[in-house]
Each structure stands twice: as C-alpha cells, then as structure tokens.
C-alpha cells in the first residue's frame, strides 16, 4: 500500500512525457544564457581518452532547391557518398554502370527501403540517431535504425581470418592521440549500398574510420574505403555528426510496416 502511494506520488511529481524525445541535457556544458554550449571542449573519460559517448545525428548539409528546403533535411552523403569529392567516387566500369542503373530507378531497390540493414558507412549518414557507449576496451554504437548495434573492439584482438561476411563486418580499433582509428573488414559481397545512388561495397573492402570528437557537439569521421573490386583506388570522405543533447533513442523497427499487411487484407 505504501508502495502504491510512492508510485502515485512519483506519477504526479514527474512531468508527463509521452516519449523521451526531449530529456534534460544535464551533462552538457551551458552558455551563460543556459543553452547547451556545443562548442565546449570534448569531454574525456577517466582514463584520459576523448569520450565519444552521446546521442548523435548525421549531418543535415543537403543543398536546398530554389523553391525552398525540404521539411526533413538530410546529409548530401546519404544521397551520394562522393559528394564533395572533385570527381566523385572512383568507380570501376561495372560499378559505374550499376550506379547509373540504380539511380535511374530512383533507388527503389535500395536494401534499406526493404528494411535490410544499411552497413557501417550509412550508419554515419542515415537520418536516424545513434548512441555511442564507450568503455576502455569496447565501443558500442546503438542505432535506432534497425534497432541494432555495432561493436568496435579495443581489446587487442586481430581482425578475424576468413570471417562469415556480415552487413556491418568486423571492427577493431586503437587510439592515435585523440583519434579513434577503426579498421573493419568482412562485409557481405553484393547487397550493401553506400548511398541512395547505389554505390556498391564488396567483400574485398577494408574501411578505416578515423573518428574524432572535434568539440562537445561534433563528431568527425574521416573514412577511407579500399575496395579494389568496385573502385579504381582507395578514397576518403569526411562525415560529420552532431550531438543531440536532449534526445534519446527511439525504436525504428522498419518491418512494422510489413506487419500492417494483414490489416490491408482483413479490412
């Protein structure tokens, strides 16, 4: 009975929130007017390393057409990973032809459009949020997209030999000063798109991400992709992500939509 009163008190005392889309940013440095100071220096963990923890969203650097910006801004690199590179991505001939074909059909065969995972490149560009949880030997990236996880091991293990290819591959990392250097291999060979254009990734790929928390509010990743099957040379792109100091992850279960199929049949 006492417990019931306590619960009732808590229910009345706590502000009603329908969801955790706006939670107090208690651990964020503040400006004199009380707003979050996202230009403050990056925080550090107890062992002195930069702390990458937080809820992050991809860049929203999409150019606006003359008739105004779209309601939902995305990253240019979500659409075209080669955006910002003088000559775009250095496709092998077959890859260039494939991208042309995929672009012509408005990306309708994009695996993410059919609820398949996006892979680690699009983890940095897909317009859903990620949460980084950091320990000295393991960095976990929780993604609301696919309600999924990525593990990056810092415990000294080597990359696996001849691994079972996966959507996210296998990732190990070490610190180079204040930069986390992540090396990944072991990707599926045919069904990972790097962008909405349809730039491919193959099982020959190695990806190096140099991740740095530039300041409190910005994470910058220099990503070098070496994939001789699909590209004539390695290329490097720079991807920015921004802290969402008051946000919490919300499940994004893409197949919910497929579950609505029986309703269409029954009504």
């Amino acid at each position: 009975m006492q417990a019931a009163f306590v619960l009732l008190f808590l229910a009345l005392a706590l502000p009603a929130r329908a969801q955790w889309s706006d939670v107090p940013a208690t651990t964020v440095p503040k400006n004199s007017d009380g707003s979050p100071n996202l230009n403050a220096p990056a925080p550090r963990t107890a062992d002195g390393k930069p702390d990458l923890s937080g809820v992050w969203r991809p860049d929203r650097n999409q150019k606006c057409p003359p008739d105004g910006c779209p309601d939902n801004q995305m990253s240019e690199q979500f659409l075209d990973l080669g955006w910002g590179l003088k000559d775009g991505l250095p496709y092998q001939t077959w890859a260039a032809e494939l991208v042309k074909k995929r672009s012509a059909s408005a990306g309708k065969d994009d695996p993410t459009s059919h609820c398949f995972p996006g892979g680690i490149v699009r983890l940095h560009t897909y317009p859903t949020f990620n949460k980084i949880v950091q320990t000295p030997t393991l960095v976990v990236i929780l993604s609301e997209r696919e309600t999924s996880y990525r593990q990056i091991f810092l415990d000294g293990r080597p990359l696996p030999n001849d691994p079972l290819p996966t959507w996210k591959g296998y990732s190990i990392a070490h610190w180079d000063g204040d930069t986390l250097v992540v090396e990944s291999t072991g990707f599926r060979g045919e069904d990972i798109w790097l962008d909405r254009k349809g730039s491919p990734l193959t099982d020959a790929a190695t990806i190096i991400e140099r991740i740095r928390r530039v300041n409190f509010g910005r994470l910058q990743t220099q990503m070098t992709i070496s994939d001789a099957k699909a590209y004539t040379r390695p290329f490097t792109v720079t991807l920015n992500e921004y802290l969402e100091p008051s946000a919490e992850l919300m499940d994004f279960v893409c197949v919910e939509n497929d579950a609505s199929g029986p309703q269409f049949l029954g009504k």
């Binding site: 150019k63 057409p65 939902n72 279960v253 939509n257 579950a259 269409f264």
Partner: protein, 130 residues
C-alpha cells in the same frame, strides 16, 4: 478460385512491401501536389512511415478513402507530433503529393489539424538538388 485468392494476396503483400522505407521519388510525384479535406478514419503510428486514412467527399457527397504517408515516427515526434494531434473523427486538411501509380495514396507534406495548427509531415527530398 484458390489461385485467384493467392494472386490477390501476393499483389497486396507486394503493395505493402513497396510502402516500406523508400525514396520519395520512387513512390510519389513531386510535380503532382494535391489538397484534401476529410475525416480521419484510422491512424497507424508505425515505422518506417506513419500512415493515416481519410474519408474524402467529392462535390456530389460521395466519400472515397485516401491513404496518406508521413515520415518516421521518430522524426515526427521529435518535431512535436503526438498521438493526440491526429485521431479518428478529426476533420483535417492535407497538402501533399500524389502517388505515381495513380492510386488513392499521397504523401502528406503539411497537415492542418482540427484546431487549425499546421504540422509538417516530414517530407524528404531524396534527390540531390540540381
């Protein structure tokens, strides 16, 4: 008969799958804007897209059902949407874009709620700006 049912089932399942998270341009025509006013009959707060249904009356008074899609629940709730804002029985106006296939389906760009407030449906432009 059994085969006909199966074929219909497959067509409908394909239709449902095609509505899964996709490029705007693959399903809607940005050059075909349209405005609808009607009564909400159902709202599905689902990912990857929120769907809702309106009974829209033509000038003769005949009602037709239209389906509208918005962005993902995550993005919409972060932009101020709540489940209370759109409920069966509400009369709302939708400015959006028609589906390419000519069906009673549209992308809801702006929804004018029962109290007159205008809310963005989170339309994405997924083709690089030229």
């Amino acid at each position: 008969m059994r085969w006909a049912t199966l074929a219909a089932l497959l067509v409908m399942l394909h239709g449902a799958t095609a509505q899964a998270h996709h490029s705007f341009a693959a399903e809607y025509d940005g050059k075909k804007p349209a405005t609808f006013t009607g009564t909400v009959t159902k709202v599905e707060w689902t990912n990857p897209h929120v769907h809702f249904f309106l009974d829209v009356k033509d000038p003769s008074g005949t009602a037709a059902q239209w389906e509208f899609t918005m962005g993902a629940v995550n993005g919409l709730f972060r932009r101020g949407w709540t489940k209370e804002l759109l409920k069966p029985g509400d009369t709302v106006t939708v400015d959006g874009y028609l589906a390419r296939d000519g069906s009673h389906l549209a992308n809801a760009r702006v929804v004018t709620l029962r109290d007159g407030r205008k809310m963005s449906g989170g339309t994405m432009a997924d083709e690089p700006a030229n």
